[in-house]
Symmetry: C2
DNA sequence: TATACCATTCTTGTATACAAGTGTCAATGT
DNA sequence: ACATTGACACTTGTATACAAGAATGGTATA
């Protein structure tokens, strides 16, 4: 929950591992042992175990006792439900924001949107651009939640959506067009909030959330080993 | 995530501690040290630390390095946001269920409702009744989520709502009338789903979620030491 | 009397040795 | 040739010793 204390050994390892997992440098399904990681980071097993446990709670690692620890496969069924939750919650939150928002809040949003425009028009590498844009995209949505007085909703969501972030990182390495598309949708969403056009707002949010994924289903089949088989109907 | 393996030492400690925290046998704010707990359960510090870390991730413990570990104070601001999320999500999920539900599913719901009626009319202690009714209440709502095909939504919600469960345990020790009220609301909710009366359904859900809390604000001031001071405006 | 300071003792963080379960693979017996 | 079995290497789980930070309380000093 805490942003960051002095970077204790355990938390430093956690952040570095998480970044590697989210950027697929540690690919889904790959094995990752405590002792190997400990020697790599030149620390003992204890802080490694702490980091593993936290990542496991976030669904990014799967610890199988006496067998090994593995980077979780991407669970599309779970991501589908995360998208559903995000759709429903964001529609509600932004509808509340539209009903009750200051003119003074527009400036902060315009700043973020301007930043996104400059990113797209800059000459960054595609990978650099993707990473920077994802950061700014999160800024945009987080700012909206904060303005609506629903910071905790955003925080809760972040804790359960690491899987989602990983998949998004995977997808957005595609092209500048997608990012331009996202930027335009951001503009439209804020306009809908300003004008209090509720039905349009709901539709914009749904499209904004789902479109990037629906247009990228081919990627799933280009790396099938990264994904958890669906329709297993466990528990039966 | 996994229901339960063989109850390893670490997980056994986790479950026992969690139960004690949720039932307020370990009151909010109380200190709980690793070594004390280790001697109490006759194990070493390592599995205790594992359990502490998990409980900390759920927001039930607060680990302050080199100072101590404490049972978290109940955060009403956070609970307010949990209730908001539950209201929004449950309205959406049950609306989906109403649009697309089998007649065959009614039997399973009726069984649970009958069970609740029998619990209320039985001669159990108030505390026994409360605990049993909370279990059955969760069964009812979980069944609805499962019928709507949104099991993951329910699971996500459970992981972040330990705080909420603790507060609910605290409140429901009040009287048989409240439980009877909840039971009647359950009946009404299922009727609204059957009849597909969507507006009534949304209103029923909102009332069902918020009423118990709004009628019990006095309890907060009877045990002020259990609660986190509000309007601290941290981060500034 | 008030205050500054130091030591003791508590806490959790880290390192490491050992225990216990799992899978691999080769040797052996059929 | 095949199957079974056992040793071995590997994993994570647990126990314990030590390090480092924090708070308390007493003592010496101004």
């Amino acid at each position: 929950m805490n942003p960051k204390r002095q970077p204790g050994t355990s938390e430093a390892v956690y952040h570095r591992l998480k970044e590697q997992i989210l950027h697929l440098e540690l690919p889904p399904g790959s094995a990752i042992s405590e002792i190997d990681t400990a020697t790599r980071y030149e620390v003992s097993r204890t802080p490694i175990r702490d980091a593993f446990k936290t990542l496991s709670a976030e669904g990014l690692l799967e610890i199988r006792p006496h067998i090994g620890t593995f980077v979780s496969l991407i669970d599309l069924d779970m991501i589908s439900d995360i998208l559903y939750m995000r759709e429903v919650l964001e529609q509600a939150v932004l509808r509340d924001l539209a009903q009750n928002h200051d003119k003074s809040q527009e400036f902060r949003i315009r700043l973020i949107l301007q930043r996104q425009r400059e990113l797209i028009e800059s000459g960054l590498t595609l990978e650099e651009l993707s990473r920077a844009f994802i950061v700014s995209d999160n800024e945009f949505h987080n700012m909206l939640y904060e303005m609506a007085g629903k910071t905790n909703v955003m925080l809760f969501f972040r804790t359960i959506s690491s899987q989602y972030e990983r998949f998004r990182t995977f997808l957005n390495l595609r092209g500048r067009d997608n990012l331009m598309c996202l930027y335009n949708e951001h503009l439209a969403i804020w306009d809908a909030i300003s004008c209090q056009t509720y039905d349009a707002l709901s539709n914009l949010i749904s499209h904004h959330i789902y479109d990037g994924f629906n247009s990228s289903t081919d990627i799933v089949y280009s790396h099938p080993e990264y994904f958890k088989p669906v329709s297993q109907r466990a528990e039966f």
